[in-house]
């Protein structure tokens, strides 16, 4: 009996909560999105490359968690993934002071979290306090340190906050993209107990979690799926005033491997697919029953080969130290770069759906590339000349093959690590192995599980060379900052240095930091161009190729416009809808 009363109470409360905003809708300042007006209802199923680790933006480090958090949370200022420009989000407007040091942000009025609690300036203050708290160890903290000092936040009134920077910051308001505004009413108690890192597991009860994104938690089935439902309080509407998102439900299926994702999409179990490899893309393109595959063009992922240039670690074995003598030779790295057949990589690995790379800025990023950067064609002769200048020589083998010898007469042999789960990079490694064989280098390819690969590169540093890929999350120079700076964790050839090991690394550090505080785009671009040139001269990373962004969706999905920025297909999830009269046959 009591349970029935409770149940009734819940139904009543729930009803109230939904009815509530209808009355006050006039007071809400909704963001009106242009574009095709869709139809409300239905559910969308997408696959996720494995289970996300957490829903908590404060501890999320893996791409899967970030993808899920992306549709459950919202930021003050957002970068439109299609135009790559900033646009207002939770902030109705913002103003940057003439000296570039203070940002005044005005929040939309009448907004609510997905559990119906109102949003105000205190939530914003709380959010940034948590991000900047050293004890929380939030990954966002580094982004909020400008000129070595944390950003300070001040409340002006219920809907206005001022951010104060210690130094001018070239990125401007892009800084706020991706910084989820957290619900103070749910987290404050946990924060004071120091337990923020422990909450937000996928098993969290749906009423214990809230965000400002288009969807909210509904159900989680371990090992199978995560079901999100429409956030009725979402703060965007379409051009006709219909409240977004259109979809009632968004389902993430956990599908651990790329081939299984393709099969699920092909059989209609999932409605969209993204991050498709070129070979699977052409398989899917061959027989498009009821779905369409889209090549969105070059993306921001760059794949590169790098050598172990870490120095003075006692742990490195004498064997690696001996090989590092070659790796430290600029001519050696230049020669390897000259010998790599990038054009073949694009053709054989990406089936032509990609672009050869000579620098860190991928062709999908049109504003920041340095056009003056040389694009030397493959030349074994130049590679041989470079090696000869550096004191290398060749000995002729009995079979007509030659072996490259260093100045001590030792043959040049090393191994290249690749991730065993990434077929594309394994293929690149096989091609490079053959390219370098023609210079007389004996290369072995070692496929390694990606976690232990990363551990070797960043922790134990026990490797010769490695092929990796990084996808910039934004088309701004600053998104790759931890690759550029010698103190950065993704400065892979020698990560997290206390002091720059070489003069050119010091010079890059200087240029990048200066670029960060430059005010105009032209100033920043000039500094960034110079940094790219230094990188090309020294070749610590030998850039290989960049794949196109390939995606697909059922024809019944409206507003499907894959972008070259993450999340490639879900960036406009609030506008996705199921077209009329084309209900999904699978359900």
């Amino acid at each position: 009996m009591r349970s029935i009363v409770l149940l009734l109470l819940f139904v009543f409360v729930g009803h109230q909560a939904i009815a509530f905003p209808q009355e006050k809708i006039g007071k809400e300042e909704l963001l009106v999105l242009p574009g095709e007006v869709g139809r409300a209802g239905g559910r969308l199923v997408v696959s996720l490359r494995g289970e996300p680790k957490t829903l908590n933006p404060l501890i999320a480090a893996d791409a899967r968690s970030r993808e899920v958090i992306g549709v459950m949370q919202a930021d003050l200022v957002h970068i439109n993934r299609a135009t790559q420009q900033t646009e207002p989000a939770l902030a109705k407007s913002w103003k940057i002071s003439p000296d570039g040091l203070s940002y005044t942000i005005v929040l939309r009025r009448g907004l609510k979290f997905s559990d119906g609690q109102p949003l105000d300036a205190d939530d914003v203050l709380f959010t940034f306090r948590v991000y900047l708290d050293e004890n929380v160890h939030a990954p966002q903290r580094d982004l909020l340190m400008v000129g070595g000092k944390p950003i300070t936040v001040r409340k002006v009134d219920e809907h206005t906050v001022v951010f104060q920077l210690a130094k001018t910051y070239g990125v401007g308001e892009r800084l706020f993209d991706g910084l989820a505004i957290l619900p103070r009413h749910l987290l404050e108690k946990r924060y004071e107990e120091g337990k923020l890192g422990q909450i937000g597991s996928l098993a969290t009860a749906a009423d214990q979690w809230a965000g400002l994104g288009p969807f909210r938690l509904k159900e989680y089935v371990a090992g199978q799926r995560l079901v999100l439902e429409r956030n009725p309080y979402y703060w965007k509407s379409d051009a006709q005033g219909g409240r977004l998102p259109y979809l009632d439900e968004l389902v993430f299926l956990f599908v651990p491997n790329a081939d299984a994702q393709v099969l699920k999409f092909q059989s209609g179990e999932t409605d969209m697919i993204s991050q498709v490899g070129a070979e699977n893309f052409s398989v899917l393109s061959k027989q498009q029953h009821g779905y369409t595959m889209v090549d969105a063009g070059p993306g921001l992922e760059y794949n590169f080969l790098f050598f172990n240039l870490n120095d003075s670690i006692e742990k490195t074995s004498p064997d690696i130290q001996r090989k590092q003598k070659w790796f430290r030779e600029v001519n050696f790295r230049q020669a390897v770069s000259a010998a790599v057949d990038r054009e073949a990589i694009v053709r054989l690995v990406y089936q032509g759906r990609g672009a050869a790379l000579w620098g860190l800025v991928a062709p999908g990023n049109r504003r920041w590339g340095n056009e003056k950067l040389p694009h030397p064609a493959r030349s074994l002769d130049r590679a041989r000349t470079l090696l000869k200048e550096a004191g290398f020589s060749w000995s002729n083998g009995p079979d007509g093959g030659s072996t490259l010898l260093d100045s001590d007469g030792k043959s040049v042999e090393f191994s290249i690590l690749t991730s065993s789960t990434n077929a594309d990079r394994a293929k690149m490694a096989a091609l490079i192995q053959d390219d370098l064989k023609q210079l007389g280098m004996r290369v072995q390819v070692v496929p390694l599980e990606s976690r232990s690969l990363l551990d070797r590169v960043t922790q134990s540093r026990d490797y010769d060379a490695c092929i990796m890929g990084i996808a910039s999350y934004d088309a701004d120079a600053n998104s790759d900052i931890s690759v550029w700076l010698s103190s950065g964790g993704l400065h892979l050839w020698s990560p997290s240095q206390a002091h720059p090991a070489t003069s050119w690394e010091a010079e890059i550090d200087r240029l990048i930091e200066e670029q960060m505080s430059a005010r105009t785009f032209e100033q920043r671009k000039k500094l960034y161009d110079r940094a790219q040139e230094i990188l090309a001269e020294n070749q610590p990373m030998i850039f290989l190729a960049s794949p196109n962004i390939l995606a697909g969706a059922k024809n019944s999905i409206g507003n499907f416009h894959p972008a070259v920025l993450e999340p490639y297909v879900l960036w406009n999830v609030e506008q996705l809808y199921l077209k009329n009269g084309m209900e999904n046959a699978t359900r």
Binding site: L263, E279, N280, A344, Q351, D399, A430, Q444, V446
Partner: protein, 349 residues
């Protein structure tokens, strides 16, 4: 008589097949690791005798393949110019039997490359890779089976002949070996080894592992044979005349195990070839670019290869005659062994 003939037949079949693999350099038109980057995933070329105009050619020829218009992976024959197949022509260097430097190849094309079984993702000739891959796979099988049989034979003979606690101990160890999950142990073992293993090291590692794994079964069989042989009248008689253990084993008991050993060998070799293929398929075998039959098939782990390039399955088919040969040999060994035993028993009376 009939038994002997089928026996010889299987031997000849196996001899020819192994001969082709041993002389892979001669029969394969190209170097197995050479990449032809202009033609990845080229389908097998057809041998023609009739050209597009209906003329009959004495010498078989192929047409070059070109990409069909507006497609990335569909090929069609370019029938403008037939390319005759040349025999005994000079090509890439190789070493016959590992030491004889030669450049002569059995067949090839003069202005075009002939891909009888198509090419793989890097444009390497699948036919050449199949032959060279056989060297690794078959040799690993033979060597592994040899090591296994030797270990199994010694342990089985000691256990059977001496009996007592030695027998119990050895047989319990054998049971333990039968019960271990080998594949998972191999994964663990691979994790302990240094990262980069050269192809030769990898090869010997595989053979050693294969050899060490399977000795329990032959050991049990040999022990059974030894147990029954040592109780035979002529063995007892010889012992009565003062023959030593060594003499008895050498002269009277171990010869009895020969038919069991031969049959076991014929069964174990294909099994071990298959085991090597499994390891290579899973990436635990010889590393790229060295071909082995398992490596050739490992591309099939990718869905896109599975549905797009049917010729990548062909290496799997090529193993069938080898296995058939060995299993045929095993069954004729068995028959021969049975006949021999009956004959000897009658003769002995």
């Amino acid at each position: 008589m009939r038994v002997r003939r089928t026996f010889a037949k299987w031997l000849v079949v196996l001899g020819v097949l192994h001969g082709m693999v041993v002389c892979a350099g001669f029969f394969a038109p190209y170097d197995p690791v050479e990449q032809d980057r202009q033609s990845p995933y080229l389908p097998p070329m057809r041998l023609h005798l009739l050209d597009a105009h209906g003329h009959l050619h004495v010498r078989p020829f192929v047409y070059a393949l070109r990409l069909r218009e507006s497609s990335f992976d569909q090929f069609e024959e370019d029938t403008t110019e037939p390319h005759p197949v040349k025999f005994f022509l000079r090509g890439a260097r190789y070493r016959l039997l590992g030491f004889l430097p030669l450049r002569m190849h059995f067949f090839g094309g003069e202005n075009t490359r002939i891909y009888l079984l198509g090419t793989d993702a890097y444009g390497r000739d699948q036919f050449s890779r199949l032959l060279f891959g056989g060297q690794v796979s078959l040799f690993a099988g033979l060597l592994g089976a040899g090591v296994t049989l030797f270990i199994g034979w010694s342990i089985g003979a000691v256990a059977g002949y001496y009996g007592g606690w030695r027998d119990s101990l050895l047989m319990r160890v054998a049971e333990l070996f039968l019960a271990l999950p080998w594949l998972y142990l191999l994964f663990a073992l691979r994790a302990f080894l240094p990262l980069a293993v050269s192809p030769l090291e990898a090869f010997f590692l595989i053979t050693a592992v294969l050899g060490a794994v399977g000795w329990a079964r032959p050991a049990r069989l040999v022990r059974g044979v030894v147990l029954s042989a040592k109780e035979r009248d002529f063995v007892r008689a010889a012992r009565g005349f003062g023959a030593s253990n060594g003499y008895l084993l050498r002269r009277h008991i171990l010869p009895e195990t020969s038919s069991v050993l031969l049959t076991q060998a014929a069964i174990l070799i294909p099994q071990y070839v298959l085991a090597e293929m499994t390891l290579s398929f899973l990436g635990l075998g010889v590393p790229e670019p060295v071909p082995s039959w398992g490596n050739l098939l490992s591309g099939l782990q990718q869905y896109s290869v599975l549905v797009s390039y049917w010729w990548m399955y062909l290496p799997a088919l090529a193993m069938v005659p080898f296995f058939l040969g060995y299993l045929g040999l095993a069954s004729s060994f068995e028959e021969r062994g049975a006949v021999y035993k009956i004959e000897s028993r009658i003769w002995g009376m």
